[in-house]
């Protein structure tokens, strides 16, 4: 435990030193560690644990010293270089064997405790991320669960908020999370748009594609809301976004046997068997592609979620009750 604290202490000091160096330089070209503090500290700790005196960690530190050496004020430069040298010395003294006995991804381990509420501290909000296959009644379960827990339910609302932030016309953009990348590209990157419109979009979305700009804004919004309130969010890679930002949450994946889903889609959408089957396959493929593109993970793979649920085994109502029981939040208990 003492060693662990030491690693975190050093990592935080490296991050702070980088910030201080950047400030003293006065540059606007970007600092060495550009992510949020928590993420950067975690990745530095990981580097220290796996390769305490390794090449990668030294290279990261060298980037800070490269910048520090260019500070104009002698006083600031020598003060920060002293700090840098101290950190370097402490790293050299770290026990090399520590990384071998420690569980590396203990944050992930915490997420998988049997009582899911354990991963929330008093200050954390209850956030449930639900991924679902089309036709598994995931949306209905999510909505009913939000109602039962008396917390907010976000699906298209997040998307609408993003549009507002991006100052985009609603008609020109389609909800990527609902359709998948391919369809979006066909829908709003199709021909027929003038050069002026394209340039306007280029400026509006900071040179990014629309879907990327929307994803980044959705990420921002989800993290912001996670600090303010309890909620359930459907899809949008929210589970990975929150995990990357070290925000406690519960991730649930709801699915059902393919044939069962086909029957549901046939009834709900009034389609014949063949069309329903084709639609499901297409939407599954798009969801998978979208999730994989933005998270690098496999959509629907059980190892990526806290709970995987076969809604066909329980139906909507019982699914909600089971999840509530698991959360230890049953309102009637």
């Amino acid at each position: 435990m003492e060693n662990k604290n030491k690693y975190y202490d050093i990592a935080e000091r490296i991050y702070d030193l980088d910030g201080e160096v950047y400030e003293c330089v006065g540059s606007s070209l970007g600092r060495t560690f550009t992510g949020d503090k928590r993420t950067c500290v975690e990745s530095l700790v990981k580097l220290m644990r796996t390769k305490p005196q390794g090449h990668l960690l030294r290279s990261e530190l060298a980037l800070i010293s490269n910048m520090a050496r260019t500070i104009r004020k002698d006083e600031d430069r020598s003060r920060l270089m002293r700090k840098y040298d101290e950190i370097l010395k402490e790293i050299a003294e770290l026990p090399a064997g520590f990384g071998k006995v420690e569980i590396l991804d203990e944050n992930r381990a915490k997420l998988n405790t049997s009582n899911l509420r354990q991963k929330f501290s008093k200050d954390d909000h209850l956030i449930i991320c639900i991924g679902r296959t089309h036709g598994s009644a995931g949306n209905d379960i999510g909505f009913a669960l939000a109602d039962a827990l008396r917390i907010n339910y976000y699906d298209a609302e997040i998307f609408n908020e993003v549009l507002r932030r991006l100052d985009a016309e609603k008609d020109s953009v389609v909800d990527v999370a609902d359709l998948g990348t391919n369809e979006i590209e066909n829908k709003y990157q199709g021909s027929g748009r003038t050069l002026k419109e394209r340039l306007k979009d280029f400026d509006r979305y900071h040179g990014l594609t629309k879907e990327d700009a929307i994803f980044f804004n959705q990420s921002d919004l989800i993290c912001k809301k996670a600090k303010e309130e309890d909620f359930i969010v459907m899809g949008r890679c929210a589970d990975v976004i929150l995990a990357n930002n070290h925000i406690p949450h519960i991730s649930i994946f709801i699915t059902a046997p393919f044939e069962q889903r086909v029957h549901r889609v046939m009834e709900v959408n009034n389609l014949d068997h063949k069309k329903a089957e084709r639609l499901l396959k297409k939407i599954d493929r798009q969801h998978s592609k979208y999730y994989n593109f933005y998270t690098g993970q496999k959509w629907g793979d059980a190892v990526n979620y806290d709970i995987c649920f076969n809604s066909a085994s329980y139906g909507i109502e019982e699914s909600v009750e089971i999840i509530e029981r698991m959360l230890n939040q049953h309102t009637n208990a």
């Binding site: 980037l63 932030r165 900071h206």
Partner: protein
């Protein structure tokens, strides 16, 4: 200067030693190397100068060293210095987010710009916007590597302003706009390299996103604003100075009765020509005016430091001095190498341009080609050179400067500036792995398609 006969190959050892130091020392003794670079450069230079003086005498040694310092290094470093200063006074504000799409688009613009304001000018102007735009990303060194490939090297092939070897060709009678004939080769290479880059960058970009990295794009609109835009006038001044340095030596007002260029006599046959003096004065004036007319705040925001130019100035004076024996051997034996086909010219010029100064290398092979006795082709003062052969020599000299960090002046500058701004650039050999895997296959395709 008189040709020195039978230069022994062992005199090239200091050059190899210096290259090896540049490659290895930052890896094994980074702190020592950073502090003692001038010492290492002096060591290898002395190791060349002393045996050379012992073999050929003090006077010849003095002439050789001064010739390369005064006539090659001085104009080289002043041009680099001028563009470095002026570009450091232009800053682009705005919230462009580096993504495969915008990086690729800017590479297209930057590569073409290199032929308009030179590879050095274009590199210095665009390196900071690229670093800034991609600062949110973790995996970004490949972006700067392709920057060196395309903007710092290949882009310069279309005009004599683009890259010094082509200026030499222009001075030897190659028409000014002849290099535009290389457009189809450049476009061909750009398509291959940019496609490769796009997919590499896309993979890296996805990994960055998957790790939760994101640019700050909360506000709608990019709000691009260029501060210090008036410095483009000074860039134009510098480009003008380079063009003048290529044109004035051909004018009778700048020539002695024997056809040599008038100038300040220094030692023996070493003379600093007046065209070079004019070039230097204009460049220094542009740099001075740029500093005088731009607020310091702009340079601070640009993280303008002398580190990068200092490093290049120190290393390259050693490179210029120690590579003299290699260049002399090349000049003496270039014609006897039996190279007389375009693809041979392409590889020979290219391979040597990767490590030696590409300007004299270009000249050696242009002279060789001119002496082969062709009756048709591009008429130069060195003789007629078939179009395909001249294309091969030009492409070899310009493109293959990208093979190593020392192949072309801006390469090392881009590396140093990236190192100073949070981009972990590969080592000398690490960079060569990139050039071997990405560039050499493209050059092989070039050979098969254009030079066989």
């Amino acid at each position: 200067m008189e040709e020195l006969s039978a230069i022994p190959v062992w005199l090239c050892i200091p050059f190899a030693g210096l290259l090896l130091s540049i490659a290895v020392m930052p890896l094994i003794k980074p702190d020592w190397w950073e502090k003692h670079q001038p010492l290492a450069v002096a060591f290898w230079s002395v190791l060349f100068i002393v045996p050379f003086a012992a073999k050929y005498g003090m006077f010849t040694m003095g002439e050789t060293v001064l010739e390369c310092v005064v006539n090659d290094y001085l104009t080289f470093i002043i041009l680099l210095f001028g563009l470095f200063c002026v570009a450091g006074n232009i800053t682009i504000d705005g919230e462009f987010a580096g993504s495969p799409r915008i990086n690729t688009a800017l590479f297209v613009l930057g590569t073409l710009l290199s032929s308009v304001i030179g590879t050095t000018g274009s590199s210095m102007l665009l390196v900071r916007p690229f670093i800034k735009m991609n600062s949110w990303r973790k995996r970004k060194s490949h972006i700067m590597i392709f920057f060196i490939f395309l903007i710092s090297n290949m882009g310069g092939c279309l005009t004599p302003i683009g890259d010094p070897p082509l200026l030499m060709g222009f001075m030897r009678g190659v028409p000014f706009f002849w290099s535009l004939k290389l457009f189809h080769i450049l476009i061909f290479n750009m398509i291959i390299l940019l496609t490769l880059f796009y997919f590499l960058d896309r993979r890296a970009y996805r990994k960055d996103i998957a790790e939760g990295r994101k640019p700050d794009i909360r506000e709608p609109g990019t709000h691009v604003r260029i501060v210090g835009l008036h410095n483009l006038i000074y860039v134009a001044m510098i480009v003008g100075a380079v063009i003048l340095s290529g044109m004035l030596p051909g004018m009778s007002a700048f020539q002695n009765a024997d056809g040599t260029v008038k100038g300040i006599h220094i030692l023996g046959e070493v003379t600093l020509g007046f065209p070079s003096v004019i070039e230097i004065v204009i460049i220094l004036l542009a740099a001075f005016l740029s500093f005088k007319t731009t607020k310091e705040e702009v340079r601070i925001r640009n993280h303008f430091t002398w580190g990068a130019i200092q490093e290049v100035a120190v290393l390259f004076i050693g490179i210029f001095i120690t590579m003299q024996p290699a260049l002399m051997i090349l000049k003496a034996n270039g014609a006897e190498l039996g190279i007389n086909k375009p693809f041979e010219m392409f590889w020979a010029t290219g391979a040597l341009s990767s490590f030696l100064d590409n300007t004299p290398t270009y000249l050696v092979f242009l002279t060789t080609a001119g002496a082969l006795g062709f009756k048709s082709g591009v008429v130069t003062t060195l003789g007629s050179v078939p179009v395909k052969m001249l294309e091969a020599i030009s492409c070899g000299a310009v493109f293959m400067g990208a093979n190593t960090y020392i192949g072309n002046a801006p390469n090392f500058m881009v590396k140093s500036m990236s190192d100073e701004n949070g981009v972990r650039m590969p080592s000398f050999f690490g960079y060569m792995v990139w050039s071997l895997t990405c560039l050499i296959p493209v050059f092989i395709i070039d050979m098969l398609v254009f030079f066989l």
